[in-house]
Protein backbone atom coordinates (compact mmCIF):
# COMPACT_ATOMS: atom_id res chain seq x y z
CA UNK A 1 0.00 0.00 0.00
CA UNK A 2 1.32 3.43 -0.86
CA UNK A 3 1.77 5.73 2.10
CA UNK A 4 2.80 8.81 0.20
CA UNK A 5 1.33 12.30 0.59
CA UNK A 6 0.81 14.52 -2.45
CA UNK A 7 -0.59 17.97 -1.73
CA UNK A 8 -1.04 20.15 -4.82
CA UNK A 9 -2.03 23.74 -4.19
CA UNK A 10 -3.92 22.84 -1.03
CA UNK A 11 -5.82 25.88 0.24
CA UNK A 12 -8.03 26.21 3.30
CA UNK A 13 -9.94 29.12 4.75
CA UNK A 14 -11.41 29.25 8.23
CA UNK A 15 -15.17 29.84 8.34
CA UNK A 16 -14.32 33.48 9.19
CA UNK A 17 -12.61 33.84 5.80
CA UNK A 18 -9.03 33.97 7.09
CA UNK A 19 -6.56 31.82 5.14
CA UNK A 20 -4.89 28.97 7.04
CA UNK A 21 -3.29 27.28 4.02
CA UNK A 22 -2.42 29.15 0.84
CA UNK A 23 -1.52 26.63 -1.80
CA UNK A 24 0.59 24.04 0.02
CA UNK A 25 2.81 21.96 -2.31
CA UNK A 26 4.22 18.96 -0.50
CA UNK A 27 5.21 15.51 -1.70
CA UNK A 28 6.26 12.88 0.83
CA UNK A 29 7.48 9.52 -0.44
CA UNK A 30 7.15 6.03 0.96
CA UNK A 31 9.06 5.46 4.19
CA UNK A 32 10.22 9.05 4.65
CA UNK A 33 10.39 10.66 8.07
CA UNK A 34 9.51 14.33 7.62
CA UNK A 35 9.54 17.09 10.23
CA UNK A 36 6.95 19.78 9.56
CA UNK A 37 8.33 22.92 11.22
CA UNK A 38 6.88 26.35 11.56
CA UNK A 39 5.89 29.08 14.03
CA UNK A 40 2.57 29.09 15.85
CA UNK A 41 -0.31 29.79 13.48
CA UNK A 42 1.64 28.60 10.43
CA UNK A 43 -1.07 26.10 9.50
CA UNK A 44 0.69 22.93 10.66
CA UNK A 45 -2.24 21.51 12.59
CA UNK A 46 -4.71 22.55 9.87
CA UNK A 47 -2.61 20.68 7.31
CA UNK A 48 -2.48 17.66 9.61
CA UNK A 49 -6.26 17.56 9.98
CA UNK A 50 -6.55 17.49 6.17
CA UNK A 51 -4.54 14.28 6.00
CA UNK A 52 -7.36 12.42 7.74
CA UNK A 53 -10.21 14.16 5.97
CA UNK A 54 -11.27 15.90 9.19
CA UNK A 55 -11.41 19.21 7.36
CA UNK A 56 -11.29 19.72 3.64
CA UNK A 57 -9.93 22.59 1.63
CA UNK A 58 -9.60 23.19 -2.09
CA UNK A 59 -6.82 21.92 -4.32
CA UNK A 60 -5.54 18.38 -4.70
CA UNK A 61 -4.66 16.05 -1.84
CA UNK A 62 -3.76 12.40 -2.24
CA UNK A 63 -2.85 10.48 0.91
CA UNK A 64 -1.83 6.81 1.18
CA UNK A 65 -3.01 6.11 -2.35
CA UNK A 66 -6.44 7.72 -1.87
CA UNK A 67 -7.74 10.99 -3.26
CA UNK A 68 -9.12 12.70 -0.13
CA UNK A 69 -12.84 13.19 -0.46
CA UNK A 70 -16.19 12.36 1.07
CA UNK A 71 -16.24 8.79 -0.28
CA UNK A 72 -12.78 7.85 0.93
CA UNK A 73 -12.69 9.23 4.48
CA UNK A 74 -13.44 5.95 6.28
CA UNK A 75 -10.79 4.04 4.36
CA UNK A 76 -8.43 6.99 4.74
CA UNK A 77 -8.82 7.04 8.52
CA UNK A 78 -7.75 3.41 8.79
CA UNK A 79 -4.64 4.15 6.71
CA UNK A 80 -3.55 7.40 8.37
CA UNK A 81 -2.88 7.51 12.11
CA UNK A 82 -3.24 10.94 13.67
CA UNK A 83 -1.78 11.61 17.14
CA UNK A 84 -3.23 14.81 18.59
CA UNK A 85 -1.23 17.32 20.59
CA UNK A 86 -3.19 16.95 23.83
CA UNK A 87 -3.42 13.28 24.85
CA UNK A 88 -6.50 14.14 26.92
CA UNK A 89 -8.29 14.80 23.63
CA UNK A 90 -7.18 11.49 22.23
CA UNK A 91 -7.78 9.22 25.23
CA UNK A 92 -11.51 9.35 25.82
CA UNK A 93 -12.34 5.81 26.93
CA UNK A 94 -12.51 4.81 30.61
CA UNK A 95 -9.46 2.50 30.45
CA UNK A 96 -6.27 2.46 28.40
CA UNK A 97 -6.99 -0.98 26.89
CA UNK A 98 -10.46 0.09 25.73
CA UNK A 99 -8.99 3.22 24.22
CA UNK A 100 -6.35 1.33 22.27
CA UNK A 101 -9.06 -1.10 21.12
CA UNK A 102 -11.34 1.71 19.90
CA UNK A 103 -9.70 2.11 16.48
CA UNK A 104 -9.29 -1.62 15.63
CA UNK A 105 -12.91 -2.29 16.71
CA UNK A 106 -14.10 0.49 14.42
CA UNK A 107 -12.17 -1.23 11.64
CA UNK A 108 -14.42 -4.26 12.16
CA UNK A 109 -11.74 -6.68 13.41
CA UNK A 110 -12.87 -9.60 15.57
CA UNK A 111 -12.18 -9.59 19.30
CA UNK A 112 -9.19 -11.94 19.21
CA UNK A 113 -7.47 -9.84 16.56
CA UNK A 114 -8.31 -6.66 18.49
CA UNK A 115 -6.84 -8.09 21.71
CA UNK A 116 -3.66 -9.01 19.83
CA UNK A 117 -3.45 -5.50 18.36
CA UNK A 118 -3.88 -3.94 21.82
CA UNK A 119 -1.06 -6.05 23.28
CA UNK A 120 1.19 -5.35 20.33
CA UNK A 121 0.59 -1.59 20.30
CA UNK A 122 1.02 -1.19 24.06
CA UNK A 123 4.18 -3.31 23.80
CA UNK A 124 5.55 -1.06 21.06
CA UNK A 125 5.29 1.98 23.34
CA UNK A 126 6.32 -0.03 26.45
CA UNK A 127 3.07 0.59 28.26
CA UNK A 128 1.69 -2.96 28.68
CA UNK A 129 1.53 -2.51 32.45
CA UNK A 130 -1.08 0.29 32.33
CA UNK A 131 -3.68 -1.50 30.16
CA UNK A 132 -6.34 -1.55 32.88
CA UNK A 133 -5.58 1.91 34.28
CA UNK A 134 -7.62 5.01 33.57
CA UNK A 135 -5.93 7.67 31.41
CA UNK A 136 -6.15 10.32 34.15
CA UNK A 137 -3.95 8.15 36.38
CA UNK A 138 -1.01 8.39 33.95
CA UNK A 139 1.70 11.03 33.71
CA UNK A 140 1.88 13.32 30.68
CA UNK A 141 4.68 11.25 29.10
CA UNK A 142 2.79 8.00 29.68
CA UNK A 143 -0.42 9.46 28.22
CA UNK A 144 1.52 10.62 25.15
CA UNK A 145 2.88 7.12 24.57
CA UNK A 146 -0.54 5.55 25.07
CA UNK A 147 -1.98 8.06 22.58
CA UNK A 148 0.59 6.84 20.06
CA UNK A 149 -0.38 3.22 20.83
CA UNK A 150 -4.06 3.99 20.10
CA UNK A 151 -3.01 4.87 16.58
CA UNK A 152 -0.33 2.18 16.08
CA UNK A 153 -3.00 -0.44 16.89
CA UNK A 154 -4.67 0.46 13.59
CA UNK A 155 -1.47 -0.38 11.65
CA UNK A 156 -1.48 2.92 9.80
CA UNK A 157 0.53 3.30 6.59
CA UNK A 158 1.25 6.90 7.56
CA UNK A 159 1.80 8.14 11.12
CA UNK A 160 1.17 11.84 11.75
CA UNK A 161 2.12 13.40 15.10
CA UNK A 162 1.21 16.91 16.27
CA UNK A 163 3.82 18.39 18.64
CA UNK A 164 4.69 15.03 20.20
CA UNK A 165 7.29 16.42 22.62
CA UNK A 166 5.20 19.35 23.95
CA UNK A 167 4.99 19.51 27.76
CA UNK A 168 7.35 16.58 28.34
CA UNK A 169 10.24 16.52 30.78
CA UNK A 170 13.65 15.47 29.38
CA UNK A 171 13.27 11.85 30.41
CA UNK A 172 9.75 11.48 28.99
CA UNK A 173 10.97 13.18 25.80
CA UNK A 174 13.88 10.72 25.51
CA UNK A 175 11.51 7.76 26.02
CA UNK A 176 9.17 9.18 23.38
CA UNK A 177 12.08 9.48 20.94
CA UNK A 178 12.99 5.85 21.61
CA UNK A 179 9.41 4.82 20.87
CA UNK A 180 9.19 6.86 17.66
CA UNK A 181 12.58 5.65 16.43
CA UNK A 182 11.26 2.11 16.80
CA UNK A 183 8.29 2.75 14.50
CA UNK A 184 8.86 1.65 10.94
CA UNK A 185 7.02 3.43 8.17
CA UNK A 186 6.23 6.88 6.87
CA UNK A 187 6.07 9.54 9.54
CA UNK A 188 5.11 13.20 9.52
CA UNK A 189 5.95 15.10 12.72
CA UNK A 190 4.84 18.68 13.30
CA UNK A 191 7.03 20.29 15.96
CA UNK A 192 8.90 23.33 17.29
CA UNK A 193 11.39 20.97 18.89
CA UNK A 194 14.21 21.28 16.34
CA UNK A 195 16.64 18.93 18.15
CA UNK A 196 13.91 16.26 18.07
CA UNK A 197 13.45 16.84 14.34
CA UNK A 198 17.23 16.55 13.84
CA UNK A 199 17.43 13.26 15.68
CA UNK A 200 14.39 11.64 14.14
CA UNK A 201 13.76 12.98 10.63
CA UNK A 202 15.94 12.97 7.54
CA UNK A 203 13.85 15.67 5.89
CA UNK A 204 12.45 18.97 7.16
CA UNK A 205 9.74 21.17 5.70
CA UNK A 206 9.08 24.68 6.96
CA UNK A 207 5.50 25.90 6.76
CA UNK A 208 4.88 29.62 7.31
CA UNK A 209 1.86 31.73 6.53
CA UNK A 210 0.12 28.71 5.02
CA UNK A 211 2.89 28.01 2.46
CA UNK A 212 5.91 25.72 2.23
CA UNK A 213 8.91 28.05 2.50
CA UNK A 214 11.69 25.53 3.01
CA UNK A 215 12.14 21.88 2.14
CA UNK A 216 15.27 19.76 2.21
CA UNK A 217 17.49 17.41 4.21
CA UNK A 218 16.95 18.10 7.91
CA UNK A 219 20.62 18.85 8.58
CA UNK A 220 20.63 21.51 5.83
CA UNK A 221 17.39 23.21 6.82
CA UNK A 222 18.35 23.31 10.50
CA UNK A 223 21.82 24.66 9.70
CA UNK A 224 20.35 27.57 7.73
CA UNK A 225 20.11 30.16 10.49
CA UNK A 226 18.71 32.87 8.23
CA UNK A 227 15.89 30.66 7.02
CA UNK A 228 15.06 29.60 10.56
CA UNK A 229 15.11 33.09 12.05
CA UNK A 230 13.03 34.46 9.17
CA UNK A 231 10.27 32.14 10.34
CA UNK A 232 10.62 32.50 14.12
CA UNK A 233 12.46 29.22 14.59
CA UNK A 234 15.79 28.68 16.33
CA UNK A 235 17.94 25.92 17.71
CA UNK A 236 18.58 26.03 21.49
CA UNK A 237 21.52 28.29 22.41
CA UNK A 238 24.84 26.45 22.19
CA UNK A 239 23.30 23.47 20.43
CA UNK A 240 25.77 21.76 18.07
CA UNK A 241 23.83 20.12 15.27
CA UNK A 242 26.89 18.21 14.01
CA UNK A 243 27.11 16.18 17.21
CA UNK A 244 23.54 14.88 16.99
CA UNK A 245 23.18 11.20 16.10
CA UNK A 246 20.41 10.45 13.65
CA UNK A 247 18.18 7.67 15.02
CA UNK A 248 18.31 4.66 12.74
CA UNK A 249 15.23 2.72 11.73
CA UNK A 250 14.49 -0.68 13.23
CA UNK A 251 16.96 -3.18 11.72
CA UNK A 252 19.22 -0.49 10.26
CA UNK A 253 22.91 -0.11 10.98
CA UNK A 254 24.76 2.31 13.32
CA UNK A 255 23.50 5.82 13.96
CA UNK A 256 25.54 8.42 12.02
CA UNK A 257 26.59 11.80 13.37
CA UNK A 258 24.82 14.64 11.54
CA UNK A 259 28.22 16.31 11.11
CA UNK A 260 29.32 13.38 8.95
CA UNK A 261 26.10 13.48 6.89
CA UNK A 262 26.49 17.23 6.47
CA UNK A 263 29.95 16.86 4.83
CA UNK A 264 28.57 14.46 2.27
CA UNK A 265 25.92 16.96 1.27
CA UNK A 266 28.34 19.78 0.65
CA UNK A 267 27.98 23.46 1.60
CA UNK A 268 25.37 25.13 3.72
CA UNK A 269 26.31 23.38 6.91
CA UNK A 270 28.11 24.50 10.08
Amino acid sequence: MSCAVHARGLTYRYPGGQHALRGVELHVGHGERVALLGPNGAGKTTFMLHLNGLISGTGGLEVAGLEVGRDTVHELRTRVGLVFQDPDDQLFMPTVAEDVAFGPLNMGLDRAAVAARVDEALGAVRMEHVAERAPYQLSMGERRRVAIATVLAMHPALLVLDEPSANLDPRARRELLDVLAGVDGTMLVTTHDLPLAAELCERAVILAGGRVVGDGPCEHILADERLLSAHDLELPAGFDLRRVRRRSRPGDGPEPLLGAIGRDHGPGFG
Binding site: L49, N52, L54, H74, R77, T78, L82, F84, D86, D88, D89, Q90, L91, F92, M93, P94, T95, A97, E98, A101, F102, G103, L105, N106, M107, R111, V114, A115, A134, P135, Y136, T150, V151, M154
Partner: protein, 260 residues
Amino acid sequence: MSGLSNHALELTGLAGDPCSAVHRLDPRAKIIGLLGVTILAVSTPLAHWPVFLACVAVLAAYASVARVRPGALWRRVRLVLPLVLLAGVLLPFVRSGGDALEIGPLTVHTAGLVIFATLAAKATIGTLSAALLSATTTFPAVLRGLEAMRLPRLLVLIAALMYRYLFVIAGEAGRMRAALLSRGYSPRHALHAGPTGRVASALFLRTYARGERVYLAMLARGYRGAMPQLVPLSFGRSDAAFVALVLLAVLPLRVIGAAP
Protein backbone atom coordinates in the same frame (compact mmCIF):
# COMPACT_ATOMS: atom_id res chain seq x y z
CA MET B 1 -5.58 19.43 40.44
CA SER B 2 -6.93 20.77 43.69
CA GLY B 3 -6.65 18.33 46.55
CA LEU B 4 -10.30 18.48 47.49
CA SER B 5 -11.82 17.64 44.12
CA ASN B 6 -9.21 14.98 43.54
CA HIS B 7 -10.02 13.36 46.86
CA ALA B 8 -13.74 13.39 46.14
CA LEU B 9 -13.18 11.87 42.71
CA GLU B 10 -10.87 9.17 44.02
CA LEU B 11 -13.83 7.84 46.02
CA THR B 12 -15.25 6.52 42.76
CA GLY B 13 -12.61 3.76 42.82
CA LEU B 14 -12.91 0.24 44.19
CA ALA B 15 -12.73 -0.68 47.89
CA GLY B 16 -12.34 -3.99 49.70
CA ASP B 17 -10.65 -7.05 48.25
CA PRO B 18 -10.62 -6.69 44.42
CA CYS B 19 -10.42 -10.51 44.07
CA SER B 20 -13.43 -11.29 46.27
CA ALA B 21 -16.33 -13.38 44.98
CA VAL B 22 -18.52 -10.25 44.92
CA HIS B 23 -16.00 -8.17 42.96
CA ARG B 24 -15.76 -10.92 40.33
CA LEU B 25 -19.53 -11.09 39.70
CA ASP B 26 -20.94 -9.85 36.41
CA PRO B 27 -21.79 -6.14 36.79
CA ARG B 28 -25.37 -6.85 35.69
CA ALA B 29 -25.86 -9.25 38.62
CA LYS B 30 -24.70 -6.60 41.08
CA ILE B 31 -26.81 -3.87 39.47
CA ILE B 32 -29.95 -6.05 39.50
CA GLY B 33 -29.31 -7.37 43.02
CA LEU B 34 -28.60 -4.02 44.66
CA LEU B 35 -31.24 -2.14 42.67
CA GLY B 36 -33.69 -4.90 43.68
CA VAL B 37 -32.89 -4.41 47.38
CA THR B 38 -33.34 -0.65 47.00
CA ILE B 39 -36.67 -0.97 45.19
CA LEU B 40 -37.99 -3.47 47.75
CA ALA B 41 -36.97 -1.14 50.58
CA VAL B 42 -38.40 1.98 48.98
CA SER B 43 -41.71 0.30 48.17
CA THR B 44 -42.19 -1.02 51.71
CA PRO B 45 -45.02 0.65 53.69
CA LEU B 46 -44.41 2.55 56.94
CA ALA B 47 -42.93 0.80 59.93
CA HIS B 48 -42.42 -2.65 58.42
CA TRP B 49 -39.12 -2.94 60.26
CA PRO B 50 -38.36 -6.65 59.47
CA VAL B 51 -38.08 -5.81 55.75
CA PHE B 52 -35.63 -3.00 56.45
CA LEU B 53 -33.66 -5.24 58.81
CA ALA B 54 -33.47 -7.95 56.13
CA CYS B 55 -32.22 -5.37 53.58
CA VAL B 56 -29.53 -4.14 55.95
CA ALA B 57 -28.53 -7.74 56.75
CA VAL B 58 -28.18 -8.53 53.02
CA LEU B 59 -26.06 -5.42 52.48
CA ALA B 60 -23.92 -6.24 55.52
CA ALA B 61 -23.33 -9.76 54.21
CA TYR B 62 -22.48 -8.32 50.79
CA ALA B 63 -19.97 -5.91 52.35
CA SER B 64 -18.35 -8.61 54.47
CA VAL B 65 -17.91 -11.03 51.53
CA ALA B 66 -16.40 -8.17 49.50
CA ARG B 67 -14.29 -7.17 52.56
CA VAL B 68 -15.38 -3.58 52.32
CA ARG B 69 -14.55 -2.09 55.71
CA PRO B 70 -17.20 0.02 57.51
CA GLY B 71 -14.83 2.99 57.47
CA ALA B 72 -14.45 2.86 53.68
CA LEU B 73 -18.21 2.55 53.29
CA TRP B 74 -18.84 5.47 55.65
CA ARG B 75 -16.49 7.72 53.67
CA ARG B 76 -18.65 7.15 50.59
CA VAL B 77 -22.02 7.30 52.33
CA ARG B 78 -21.32 10.52 54.24
CA LEU B 79 -21.19 12.52 51.01
CA VAL B 80 -24.84 11.84 50.28
CA LEU B 81 -26.66 10.60 53.34
CA PRO B 82 -26.65 13.77 55.49
CA LEU B 83 -28.30 15.73 52.67
CA VAL B 84 -30.97 13.05 52.24
CA LEU B 85 -31.68 12.92 55.96
CA LEU B 86 -31.79 16.71 56.19
CA ALA B 87 -34.80 16.69 53.88
CA GLY B 88 -36.86 14.74 56.41
CA VAL B 89 -35.55 16.01 59.73
CA LEU B 90 -38.40 18.50 60.26
CA LEU B 91 -41.11 15.87 59.80
CA PRO B 92 -41.42 14.83 63.48
CA PHE B 93 -42.03 18.47 64.44
CA VAL B 94 -44.62 19.38 61.84
CA ARG B 95 -46.51 16.10 61.38
CA SER B 96 -49.16 15.65 64.11
CA GLY B 97 -50.72 12.38 65.17
CA GLY B 98 -50.09 9.73 67.81
CA ASP B 99 -48.57 10.60 71.16
CA ALA B 100 -47.01 13.99 71.67
CA LEU B 101 -43.68 14.34 73.44
CA GLU B 102 -42.49 17.63 74.88
CA ILE B 103 -38.79 18.33 74.32
CA GLY B 104 -38.15 21.75 75.78
CA PRO B 105 -40.09 24.28 73.71
CA LEU B 106 -40.69 21.76 70.88
CA THR B 107 -43.40 19.17 70.48
CA VAL B 108 -42.68 15.91 68.71
CA HIS B 109 -45.41 13.57 67.49
CA THR B 110 -44.82 9.82 67.24
CA ALA B 111 -46.55 9.64 63.82
CA GLY B 112 -43.96 12.08 62.49
CA LEU B 113 -41.17 10.13 64.15
CA VAL B 114 -42.31 6.88 62.48
CA ILE B 115 -42.41 8.58 59.07
CA PHE B 116 -38.96 10.04 59.62
CA ALA B 117 -37.51 6.71 60.80
CA THR B 118 -38.98 4.90 57.79
CA LEU B 119 -37.67 7.57 55.44
CA ALA B 120 -34.25 7.40 57.08
CA ALA B 121 -34.18 3.61 56.75
CA LYS B 122 -35.10 3.75 53.05
CA ALA B 123 -32.57 6.50 52.34
CA THR B 124 -29.82 4.63 54.20
CA ILE B 125 -30.51 1.36 52.36
CA GLY B 126 -30.57 3.10 48.97
CA THR B 127 -27.38 5.03 49.65
CA LEU B 128 -25.60 1.97 51.06
CA SER B 129 -26.59 -0.06 47.97
CA ALA B 130 -25.17 2.58 45.64
CA ALA B 131 -21.99 2.91 47.73
CA LEU B 132 -21.52 -0.88 47.76
CA LEU B 133 -22.02 -1.09 44.01
CA SER B 134 -19.37 1.60 43.46
CA ALA B 135 -17.03 -0.08 45.96
CA THR B 136 -17.21 -3.47 44.25
CA THR B 137 -17.61 -2.54 40.57
CA THR B 138 -15.48 -0.16 38.55
CA PHE B 139 -17.39 2.62 36.85
CA PRO B 140 -16.49 1.33 33.34
CA ALA B 141 -17.87 -2.09 34.36
CA VAL B 142 -21.12 -0.51 35.59
CA LEU B 143 -21.40 1.26 32.23
CA ARG B 144 -20.81 -1.99 30.34
CA GLY B 145 -23.45 -3.66 32.49
CA LEU B 146 -25.97 -0.88 31.86
CA GLU B 147 -25.30 -1.04 28.13
CA ALA B 148 -25.75 -4.82 28.12
CA MET B 149 -29.05 -4.25 29.97
CA ARG B 150 -30.24 -2.25 26.96
CA LEU B 151 -29.95 1.22 28.44
CA PRO B 152 -29.87 3.59 25.43
CA ARG B 153 -26.30 3.62 24.06
CA LEU B 154 -26.26 7.40 23.80
CA LEU B 155 -26.92 7.76 27.54
CA VAL B 156 -24.15 5.27 28.33
CA LEU B 157 -21.77 7.14 26.02
CA ILE B 158 -22.58 10.47 27.67
CA ALA B 159 -22.01 8.95 31.13
CA ALA B 160 -18.71 7.41 29.98
CA LEU B 161 -17.42 10.71 28.56
CA MET B 162 -18.59 12.59 31.66
CA TYR B 163 -16.68 10.18 33.87
CA ARG B 164 -13.59 10.41 31.67
CA TYR B 165 -13.53 14.22 31.53
CA LEU B 166 -14.62 14.92 35.11
CA PHE B 167 -10.97 14.65 36.12
CA VAL B 168 -9.74 16.82 33.27
CA ILE B 169 -12.32 19.54 33.94
CA ALA B 170 -11.70 19.38 37.70
CA GLY B 171 -8.00 19.85 36.93
CA GLU B 172 -8.71 22.86 34.73
CA ALA B 173 -10.99 24.37 37.37
CA GLY B 174 -8.31 23.82 40.01
CA ARG B 175 -5.64 25.54 37.89
CA MET B 176 -7.89 28.50 37.13
CA ARG B 177 -8.74 28.85 40.82
CA ALA B 178 -5.01 28.76 41.67
CA ALA B 179 -4.40 31.45 39.05
CA LEU B 180 -7.07 33.65 40.64
CA LEU B 181 -5.77 33.15 44.18
CA SER B 182 -2.13 33.68 43.21
CA ARG B 183 -3.02 37.14 41.94
CA GLY B 184 -4.55 38.14 45.24
CA TYR B 185 -8.22 37.29 44.65
CA SER B 186 -9.87 36.80 48.04
CA PRO B 187 -13.65 37.12 47.85
CA ARG B 188 -15.18 38.59 51.03
CA HIS B 189 -18.82 38.97 50.02
CA ALA B 190 -21.21 38.15 47.19
CA LEU B 191 -20.29 41.27 45.18
CA HIS B 192 -16.76 39.88 44.79
CA ALA B 193 -18.08 36.81 42.99
CA GLY B 194 -17.64 38.30 39.49
CA PRO B 195 -14.30 36.65 38.70
CA THR B 196 -15.70 33.29 39.79
CA GLY B 197 -18.49 33.71 37.26
CA ARG B 198 -16.00 34.54 34.54
CA VAL B 199 -13.96 31.46 35.49
CA ALA B 200 -17.13 29.40 35.16
CA SER B 201 -17.86 30.77 31.69
CA ALA B 202 -14.22 30.30 30.62
CA LEU B 203 -14.42 26.74 31.90
CA PHE B 204 -17.58 26.17 29.88
CA LEU B 205 -15.94 27.48 26.70
CA ARG B 206 -12.83 25.37 27.25
CA THR B 207 -14.95 22.31 27.86
CA TYR B 208 -16.91 23.03 24.70
CA ALA B 209 -13.71 23.39 22.65
CA ARG B 210 -12.38 20.18 24.15
CA GLY B 211 -15.58 18.42 23.16
CA GLU B 212 -14.94 19.44 19.55
CA ARG B 213 -11.35 18.16 19.69
CA VAL B 214 -12.36 14.87 21.29
CA TYR B 215 -14.96 14.37 18.57
CA LEU B 216 -12.29 14.96 15.90
CA ALA B 217 -10.01 12.46 17.64
CA MET B 218 -12.84 9.92 17.65
CA LEU B 219 -13.52 10.49 13.95
CA ALA B 220 -9.80 10.16 13.20
CA ARG B 221 -9.92 6.62 14.54
CA GLY B 222 -12.89 5.56 12.49
CA TYR B 223 -15.82 6.45 14.80
CA ARG B 224 -19.11 6.24 12.92
CA GLY B 225 -21.66 6.69 15.68
CA ALA B 226 -21.50 3.38 17.57
CA MET B 227 -19.25 2.65 20.53
CA PRO B 228 -17.49 -0.68 20.03
CA GLN B 229 -17.35 -3.23 22.88
CA LEU B 230 -14.04 -4.81 23.83
CA VAL B 231 -14.83 -7.29 26.59
CA PRO B 232 -18.07 -9.24 26.23
CA LEU B 233 -19.87 -9.80 29.54
CA SER B 234 -20.88 -13.26 30.61
CA PHE B 235 -23.79 -13.82 32.99
CA GLY B 236 -23.03 -17.22 34.52
CA ARG B 237 -24.64 -19.53 37.07
CA SER B 238 -22.95 -17.84 40.03
CA ASP B 239 -24.36 -14.50 38.88
CA ALA B 240 -27.88 -15.89 38.67
CA ALA B 241 -27.43 -17.56 42.08
CA PHE B 242 -26.31 -14.24 43.58
CA VAL B 243 -29.38 -12.38 42.28
CA ALA B 244 -31.70 -15.16 43.49
CA LEU B 245 -30.09 -15.26 46.93
CA VAL B 246 -30.24 -11.50 47.44
CA LEU B 247 -33.85 -11.16 46.33
CA LEU B 248 -35.09 -14.28 48.16
CA ALA B 249 -33.64 -12.93 51.39
CA VAL B 250 -35.89 -9.86 51.26
CA LEU B 251 -38.83 -10.59 48.94
CA PRO B 252 -40.77 -13.05 51.18
CA LEU B 253 -40.71 -10.63 54.14
CA ARG B 254 -41.79 -7.82 51.86
CA VAL B 255 -44.71 -9.86 50.47
CA ILE B 256 -45.85 -11.14 53.89
CA GLY B 257 -45.41 -7.72 55.45
CA ALA B 258 -47.58 -6.02 52.86
CA ALA B 259 -50.42 -8.52 53.27
CA PRO B 260 -53.37 -7.04 55.17
